[in-house]
Symmetry: C2
Subunit: 346 residues, 2 copies
């Protein structure tokens, strides 16, 4: 849209249609259609004249009609949760991934006042060509019902099925990287404040255990019940500080939990990283802030978004659903360093 429509001192009488533009420019409606869609079939001069006329009238194509007439909407729907910063990131990267594919992204929010079912069905009624669901909570059976209406891609689910595309981050690998990083720095007493029942927590817990064992640190396995919130981190940290011999490093379930640990440490006078190394998980926005500088496992959201969009497009074109597991990577910042007692511990 360029410039104001010169017409209509009274705004919003009747929106001009393609026919109005055609009439004003003295051409056929079909030609206007060709020019609006920017496809070959009109001379440069006609193009310019028609575009000028459209601008003058304040013409804006009607997407409802356009989408109805094309048998494909060229739309990829995506459901996301408001208030999940992580979802916002994936959505944003999905816009980038969808650019230049000929498909547009359309959003449908999940919130306290809007269930996942409502969000998905809105997209299906819009006749999206495919639907991406960020961390859906509906039972697999329900997802299967939806998959009968449009190709589906879930992000962050575990269940494999031949009817739904799956993109997820490798939690096992991520936790392994975190443990190895600390072990290489010389830490031995590495604790893990876990995520309780939260999705992904089980994998990370198991991987923590397995990696500690593999590194010969089985005796130092130290699993603290936690959760996904700052509060859980505070509680977990206090548990640790009460110990006669607290661990020299701790890996939390996520960054919010790590923030709680950092706050509790500051309050208790425990110096990070000198006295306690802290590793978070997610690489959420606050983690990288100059005064936080949290070492954390990044889930590589751009890659996840790209995989989701690509798989949606592939399924639209008939490829069967696949499972893509994106490799996370450790981002080393300022909350980890070799333990103070490196010599003593050897």
């Amino acid at each position: 849209m360029t410039g104001a429509p010169d017409a209509s001192p009274t705004p919003r009488t009747r929106r001009p249609t393609m026919s109005d533009v055609a009439r004003a420019a003295g051409v056929s409606r079909q030609l206007v259609s060709i020019i609006m869609r920017d496809v070959p079939g009109a001379s440069p001069e006609t193009r310019a004249r028609v575009q000028e006329e459209a601008r003058r009238l304040g013409y804006l194509p009607d997407d409802r009609a356009r989408k109805l007439r094309q048998q494909s909407t060229k739309l990829i729907g995506i459901t996301f949760t408001l208030h999940q910063a992580f979802h916002g990131d994936v959505v944003e990267h999905s816009y980038l991934a969808a650019a230049d594919t000929g498909y547009e992204l359309t959003l449908s929010a999940v919130a306290a006042s809007r269930s996942e079912a409502v969000a998905v069905e809105a997209l299906l009624r819009e006749r999206c060509d495919a639907v991406i669901l960020l961390a859906p909570s509906s039972p697999l059976e329900t997802l299967h019902e939806w998959a009968a209406y449009a190709p589906l891609v879930t992000v962050g689910r575990r269940e494999q099925t031949d009817r739904i595309g799956l993109v997820r981050s490798d939690d096992t690998e991520g936790m392994e990287q975190a443990v190895r990083h600390l072990a290489q720095l010389g830490h031995r007493r590495i604790a893990h404040i876990d995520g309780a029942e939260v999705s992904g927590a089980a994998d990370r817990r198991a991987s923590y255990r397995a990696t500690m064992r593999r590194l010969g640190l089985a005796e130092h396995i130290d699993l603290i019940p936690g959760g996904p919130s700052e509060e859980d981190g505070v509680r977990g940290a206090l548990t640790l500080f009460d110990r006669p011999a607290p661990p020299s490093a701790v890996i939390t379930f996520n960054d919010r939990c790590a923030t709680g640990v950092l706050n509790a440490a500051a309050r208790a006078g425990v110096k990070v990283p000198a006295e306690l190394s802290v590793v978070g998980y997610d690489d959420s926005r606050p983690a990288g802030l100059p005064h936080v500088q949290l070492t954390t496992v990044s889930q590589d959201l751009p890659a996840i978004a790209r995989a989701a969009v690509e798989m949606a497009l592939a399924q639209i074109e008939g490829t069967p659903p696949r499972e893509v597991i994106v490799r996370p990577r450790l981002v080393v910042r300022g909350t980890t360093c070799p333990p103070a007692d490196t010599q003593a511990a050897q």
Copy 2:
């Protein structure tokens, strides 16, 4: 949608249309329409039979066609910024406000990869009946252009105009409440770490000054250059701690800035609230967390959302745009208390 479509072992051949349902149920297409829209004009038995048949076929109405045919889409568009927690809150409350009005909300995201213009025009091409813009950054002139296409309501803008609805929080009032709260506790040396050029900062700054003056605290006016981020809070706090006689209380531009102050205080060993009272602004999600308990000015987002939706509906029905200023309210939590030097200061 209830139950799986029993049909189609091969999913997604051709979606059934209303005619298919009509044929299967042995009635006319129009009757199916009546039943789908849940309007009077069909007997209970027919209704049940048709609904059952629709379910069996996996019929889902096509919103494109429906919206095209009705001359109104019954859609309110809303643009919001991904990664602005505050926008998420407003969107969520807008869903609540729009429920039972007969209108649906449709989202359009603004992000680094998606400009405001793209976001708004997508809504206009969908032929939304009205558009709500959360904290739009486009020049007024551009907003006026859009207003020629659909009734507009901005949230968080200042400029009055007779062509666009306006909803905003009363920053003057909010800051006044914060200053008065601290003064009533006995504070005199009340500093303000401001928000520099950020929208709303000028009002809060002016109100801080005016209220201090009105309370006879003109000599204690202490304006620290700040900004909207944690970093700005850290910097501002360090400035304060360097003083020979630091203030006993500080009001920050927003909660993120307050978080920076709290972190800096913890690090510097300054006790909050005993040695320093802190008041934030926004009542953002983290502010209420058990281990934060920030005293802050709440913008009353539910009221803002309600006002925006109501004004959008009113404008659709022909009421001219208005300006609604929502009164914020102070939420007193744990980061404020009377100053340690109450007696000395008197």
